[in-house]
Symmetry: C2
Subunit: 246 residues, 2 copies
């Protein structure tokens, strides 16, 4: 059950997230230094990576897989507050305790930096600090977009919003025609519910309803086919353009 957590050491220069993660702007010398303070570590599907309140001795990046960031109330109500994809950053430099639960939904590979040396390096390496600022601003924008979803959208719009986000992310990788997208849902119905502030029954019902309306098609439980992306985005209630800003 408990996987052996120790791992291959990949040179930063060969890392698959090299150009998108917190190290994206580092030069060769800086990468060398990062190499000396990092280690890879894997987590199995379902395993906790960090527990809220625990002290963290590392910060790091998701290299592969998907993890969730969740907050929980005493009575068990749970809200997902972030979805961590490859290149996303985990942990807060300058803070000792974790504020959220981080759980692997897939098998996840993390690139972990020992906290102390990373903080020291960040303090004298603008390339890292600036990239982290940029990434944090992006996350803040995403969180605020999500606040609109949580606060003001109907159950059907919430599902459509989540599906568009996942679809658009995948579309940016495998290019293709604007219509007819397919993708695999990386989340259970319960995780979707926690993301959207719904119950899992409501998630299930709305997915069925979108299927009945022909907005999506299902193949199994997790494979989604979107015959017409603009139709899905209409259902999400978003501005038509997709909201890209300079």
């Amino acid at each position: 059950m408990m996987a052996a957590p120790v791992l291959t050491h990949v040179k930063c220069a060969d890392c698959p997230i090299r150009h998108r993660a917190v190290c994206a702007r580092c030069n060769a010398d800086e990468l060398e230094e990062l190499d000396t303070i990092k280690y890879y570590r894997s987590y199995e599907a379902g395993q906790p990576i960090v527990w809220s309140g625990d002290s963290m001795d590392f910060v790091g990046s998701v290299v592969s897989g998907v993890a969730t960031l969740t907050q929980t109330m005493e009575d068990g109500r749970t809200q997902m507050v972030g979805l961590l994809l490859p290149s996303d950053f985990v942990g807060r430099p300058g803070r000792s305790g974790a504020a959220y639960n981080v759980v692997a939904t897939n098998n996840v590979m993390m690139c972990c930096f020992r906290k102390k040396p990373f903080e020291e390096m960040m303090a004298r390496t603008p390339h890292i600090a600036h990239r982290l600022l940029e990434m944090t601003l992006d996350e803040l924008d995403a969180a605020r977009e999500w606040m609109l979803v949580l606060g003001r959208k109907t159950a059907r719009e919430k599902i459509a919003s989540l599906l568009s986000i996942i679809a658009r992310r995948d579309a940016s990788l495998e290019k293709g025609p604007l219509d007819r997208l397919e993708f695999e849902l990386p989340l259970t119905r319960e995780a979707m519910a926690d993301y959207l502030g719904l119950t899992l029954e409501t998630v299930s019902r709305q997915i069925s309803a979108l299927k009945k309306s022909g907005v999506i098609e299902l193949e199994g439980k997790r494979h989604i086919i979107v015959p017409d992306m603009s139709r899905l985005m209409d259902e999400a209630g978003d501005d038509s353009d997709g909201g890209f800003l300079g």
Copy 2:
């Protein structure tokens, strides 16, 4: 009606938010330089400061007053995504267009930095970049806490959460006994509704309900008295500690 927008020039060293805003860590030389690229500007209650989608030629800090950050759907549904208090930062370095509406709810004084020179200065001044990163991480934490409120709390808990946040903020200024706090609400019922993802009628009803339960007392519509802060925090459903982290 339209106020003359131009203003007094206050030296950074004398600025009321000097030690908390984006300039908090700057030394005397850096403040001198900031002085040359900034101007003060005032906005009357209700006036827009920035309109979503407009291009911005400045970034800046709230010096006094309260402003809201909101997002709006085509059909008019609106969600507040941030509440800007003195020392909070407005605008995103590196991006030309505004992503949200910023509206003054009070009379607001802004300290505006011309965008281009500010960005250039930030690129070579770690004191500014690091402080902005720290502030952005704090905002991200606040946004995520708010996601839990929006997604998982009942109307009564939402109101109690908002009141505790405002009460705690004011309490950190005027120290006093832990129980028996009073404060002025800086928001209309409608703004509270937009913050909480509710209708203004529900906000009104739940405030009446909290009053009937003795959790709060009202003096007029906007002046709130909290006889027992721990009682209010129980109603908010938060963990008892208040969630401070290193």
